[in-house]
């Protein structure tokens, strides 16, 4: 049986998709229920959660899929650096940092003939 066969596709998504993700969410609720919101343990959990998300961010920037796979690394890192400068210089507003980064990337892609 392959994933195209009707009900099996839904069972596949439910087991390999839903169960495989919600198990971790439930374990998170059980762990989080035991943490006081001013404890050192919560501070550690917060650090681990942030570092995990940061690692995902770095991978998306350094090893993108799709169109950006063919774009040069210097362009992606340059766009992030210019966006970060605008973010810190102009009042730390997320919208400014995001818009500057994307505009730089778009200009670079256009210039490279994408």
């Amino acid at each position: 049986m392959t994933w195209q066969d009707g009900w099996w596709a839904y069972a596949f998504i439910a087991i390999a998709g839903w169960l495989a993700t919600d198990i971790w969410r439930w374990l998170g609720v059980i762990a989080g229920n035991r943490l006081r919101d001013d404890s050192e343990a919560l501070n550690w959990v917060r650090a681990v959660a942030t570092a995990l998300v940061a690692a995902v961010i770095a991978k998306l920037i350094l090893y993108p899929t799709g169109v950006l796979e063919q774009s040069p690394l210097w362009l992606r890192l340059g766009a992030v650096a210019i966006g970060a400068s605008a973010f810190f210089l102009l009042g730390r507003r997320p919208a400014i940092g995001i818009a500057t980064t994307i505009a730089t990337l778009a200009a670079g892609l256009w210039w490279l003939g994408f």
């Binding site: 998170g28 609720v29 650090a47 570092a51 995990l52 995001i98």
Partner: protein, 245 residues
Amino acid sequence: MKSDENGQSSAVWFLSGMRGLFSLPAFILMLSFVGFCSLTAQAGIPPEQVVFMTGMVWALPAKVILVSSMMSGASLAAAFFAVSLSSVRLMPMVAALIPELRTSKTPTWLLLFLSHFVAITAWVFAMEKVQAVPRDKRVAFFAGFGITLVVANMVLVGVVYHFVADFPPIVAGCLFFLTPIYFLASIWHSARHPVVYIALIVGLVAGPLFYWLVPEFDILLAGVGGGTLAWATERLWRRRREIGA
């Protein structure tokens, strides 16, 4: 009488959470889902299954891995393992959010139900916004935002699937890049604890480093190793400052 007032204002906070649909993070996430739609359309997965997947799995990175497992004809066990591994990060994220949301009276079943709506965008949004919400209304606020965001994206996926022609490459590239940049800017902007800044920087370096060293477990090791290093560093600084003061 008092409980009536509370009931009413919980509904108000639920609605206020729903309005989070018209925010920058929700908008960026929807653009990412448009990108996901074109990926699944190219993979030949029928739209009903894509809508089902959006509601059941919700976390976008997990769905991308699920789709690539389905496409490569992986066995159920292999797909389960790959998706589980990518989703371990949900556990510390939920564990960090729960103490911000609950009160001593919040039932655990409700938190278990609401945890389904946690993925990176909802987590970043909730960690930032719940500070301004009275503690006993935070669950209602998060429910309003989380449930609305999932339902809206299920509808979006169902509709957009039929229209995704190939995007011009510049648009597709910019859509992809929005997600990491939004996460980066909003985590920095919303950090209320010094340890978050350190963990963000350490994680950005540790991610690629562990990908290079042990690609199978990179995210997990970068999180636990990098997070622990960030926590220990911040704790050391805090201690020094306390002694110095």
